[in-house]
Amino acid sequence: MHQLASRPVQGELGHNLITMSSIPLQSRLPKTYRIKAIKQETEMVRTYTFDGSLGARPGQFVMLWLPGIDEKPFSVAFDNGAETKITFFAVGPMSEELSQCCVGDLVGLRGPFGTCYEWKHGQHIALVAGGYGAAPMYFVAAETVHHGCTLEVFVGARSKEHLLYLEELESLPHVSLHVATNDGSMGFKGFNVQHLGKMLEAVQGKKRLKGNKGGDLDPIDQVFACGPEMMLKAVSELTAKYKIPSQLSLERYMKCGYGLCGNCVVDPLGIRLCCEGPVVKNDACMKIEEFGKYHRDALGKKHAF
C-alpha cells in the first residue's frame, strides 16, 4: 500500500512528522477539531485556529467539513506543527455558515492535499497576494524567511479595509511590503500585478545599466501568487514576459481532494488540481487552455470567468 494510515497528526507528533516531506502524510477521513480561537480580520474575513496539525506545507489545502452542511477546500493559512489556521471570506452558503461558528464549535478537517510552493535557500522571491490569498502567502513568507530568503510581498485589495495580514507580514524579517489598492486608499493605486510589473521593469532596467548588482533591485528568482484567477493570469503573462519562473495557486471545484473523482481536472492537460495542483508552475499553467477562461461546476458543466 502506498497510502499511509489515515491519521491527522497532532501537536508534537505532527511537528516531528512534517520533516518527512517525501512521505505523503494525508488523512482522507475528516476528523473534527474544536475552534480554539477566532480572529475577525475584516468585515467579511475570519481566521479560525484549530488545536492540531495535519503537517500542511505552504500552498496545500484541506477539506473543511461542517457536519450536516457541506465540505469545501480551503487553503491552509498556517500550520506550525501544533496549530492549524484557516482564513476565509464569507462569500457562499458554506462559508457564510462557517462564519457563524463560535469558539469550541466542531469543524472537520482532512488532508493536507496537493502541491506546495517550492523554493531554494537564499532566493529573492516576489509574493503576489490578492484578497484572501494573503493568508497562504503569509504562511509561505514565514517559512521562506527561515531558509534565508528575501521577499518582496505585493499585497492587493479593493481598498484599505480589505487588506489582510499586513501586520503579520511586516513583523517578519527580510520582507519588503508593497501595498496596492484599487481605489488608492493605501499604497499604490491600481492592481498589485501592475505594481509587480513596475518593479520587474525597474529590475530589468537596472540590469541593463549596471548588471546584476544593487540592493533592493536584485533580480527576482521566482514569483509566487495566490488570489483570483484573473490576477493569476496576469502574473502568468507578466512573469513569462520577463522569463521569471512563477508558481501559481489555482482553484477548481473539488470533491475527494486526492485524485479520484476527476472534478478538478483541467483542459487539455488532464491534470488534477488536487494532486498536480493547486500550486502549478507557470510552464504548466501556460498549457492549461481553460486558465483564465472557464471552470467547471459539480456537474462538470463549464462556466466562464
Binding site: 482522507r28 477521513l29 473534527t32 477539506m63 457536519p67 472534478n263 488532464g270 459539480a298 456537474l299
Partner: protein, 327 residues
C-alpha cells in the same frame, strides 16, 4: 508478452480499464488515463437529463476502504456529446459509455441519445447504491427488473455490445446475471460498490457522508468481487465476457480476478492510492508474473480457476494445469 484482449469485436491493448466514476468527467481526463497505460476507459454514468449529485463530503477513505456517495451528478447528453466527441477525434483507447436512468424507458432513451457518439460498449448501471431509494435497488436487485432494462437497451443499441453492471448486494448475483443473459446481455461488469456503508464522526456524532451512506470500495472488497465474478462466469458457462472490478490494486489482483472469469479488469479506487499511472504499474506487474510463471497468453488466464476445478473433479484425473500442486 502480449497483454491485449479482444472481446465482442473490440481489441484492448491490455486488460486494465478505468472504472466508471473515477476521473471520468472530461475528455482531457480520459486521455490522461490512457496516457498512463489504461487499455480502455469508462465514462462516469450518463443521464438523459442533467442530474444533481449530493453535497460534500462525497468521498472519504482510509487505507482499508473508500466510501462514496457522489450521487451520480451529470450535466446531461449535451456535455456527453462534447466530451465523448472530443475524445473520439483521436481515440487512444476504446471508450465504454456508462448509462444510468430512473426508469426502464429512460435507460433505452439514454442509450439512444449516446449511440450516435459510437461508444465501443454500453455499460448499463443498474446497480448504483447511492440512488437506491429512488432507482438502483429495483433494477439490480430483482431479476425481472434487470432483465427488463437489458431488453429495453438491447432493443435500441444496434451493434454496440451491452454490458450490464451488477450489484454484489443481492442474494444471488448468478440469478440476476442469468436473467440478464436470457434478455440478451452481451456481457457484464462485476461488481458495483458494496454495502452501502456508513462512517460516523465521534465528536459531532454525525454521519460523515452528506448522504449518510455510501458505496464501499477499495482493497477489502476484492474477495467479494472475485466471488461474484466466479458466480457470473459459472452461471453463463463463460460464454459472456466480464469486466471484473472491485479492490483491484496490483497485477496479482488482476490475475486473480481473471482466473475467476474476468476478461478485462476495472481499476477505480486504486487510482487514489497508487497514482494515475496505476494502469501501467498493474500491466508491468502482470507481465512480470506471467513471465515468471511461464504464461504466454493472457487470455489463457480467463476462467482458469473453473477449468482447474473441473479437471480435478473429472472422473479420470488428468494432470492439472499447474501440475506442481498435485505431484
Amino acid at each position: 508478452m502480449n497483454l491485449s484482449q479482444t472481446l465482442l469485436g473490440v481489441t484492448f491493448a491490455n486488460p486494465t480499464i478505468l472504472a466508471s466514476g473515477i476521473m471520468g468527467i472530461t475528455a482531457s481526463s480520459w486521455r490522461l488515463v490512457a496516457e498512463n497505460g489504461a487499455g480502455g476507459i469508462t465514462t462516469k454514468s450518463l443521464w438523459l437529463k442533467e442530474h444533481k449529485g449530493h453535497n460534500n463530503p462525497t468521498i472519504i477513505s482510509t487505507e482499508h476502504w473508500t466510501l462514496n456517495a457522489v450521487g451520480v451528478p451529470d450535466a446531461g447528453p449535451e456535455k456527453a456529446r462534447e466530451e465523448i466527441g472530443d475524445f473520439m477525434k483521436k481515440k487512444p483507447v476504446p471508450l465504454i459509455a456508462n448509462i444510468i436512468a430512473e426508469s426502464v424507458e429512460n435507460f433505452a432513451a439514454t442509450a439512444e441519445a449516446i449511440l450516435p457518439l459510437k461508444p465501443d460498449f454500453f455499460e448499463v448501471n443498474i446497480s448504483c447504491p447511492n440512488v437506491e431509494d429512488e432507482f438502483g435497488k429495483p433494477f439490480a436487485c430483482s431479476a425481472p427488473a434487470a432483465a427488463a432494462v437489458t431488453k429495453a437497451v438491447k432493443k435500441v443499441s444496434g451493434k454496440t455490445p451491452v454490458l450490464i453492471k451488477l450489484s454484489p448486494n443481492v442474494d444471488s448475483i448468478a440469478a440476476i446475471a442469468d436473467a440478464c443473459a436470457s434478455a440478451g446481455a452481451d456481457g457484464f461488469t462485476v461488481i458495483n460498490t458494496v454495502g452501502p456503508g456508513m462512517a460516523i464522526d465521534l465528536r459531532s456524532r454525525m454521519p460523515i457522508l452528506a448522504n449518510k451512506v455510501g458505496g464501499l470500495s477499495g482493497p477489502g472488497i476484492k474477495p467479494i468481487a472475485v466471488k461474484c465474478v466466479a458466480d457470473v462466469f459459472g452461471v453463463t458457462k463463460g460464454a459472456l465476457p466480464i469486466i471484473g472490478t472491485g479492490g483491484i490494486y496490483t497485477g496479482e489482483d488482476a490475475i486473480e480476478i481473471m482466473l475467476a472469469g474476468a476478461s478485462l479488469v476495472g481499476i477505480g479506487t486504486a487510482v487514489g492510492d497508487r497514482g494515475v499511472d496505476v494502469f501501467a504499474k498493474i500491466c508491468d506487474e502482470m507481465q512480470l508474473w506471467c513471465t515468471n510463471e511461464g504464461v504466454d497468453e493472457i487470455s489463457s488466464l480467463v476462467g482458469g480457476m473453473h477449468r482447474e476445478l473441473s479437471q480435478r473433479n473429472a472422473p479420470t484425473r488428468k494432470p492439472s494445469r499447474s501440475g506442481r500442486t498435485r505431484s
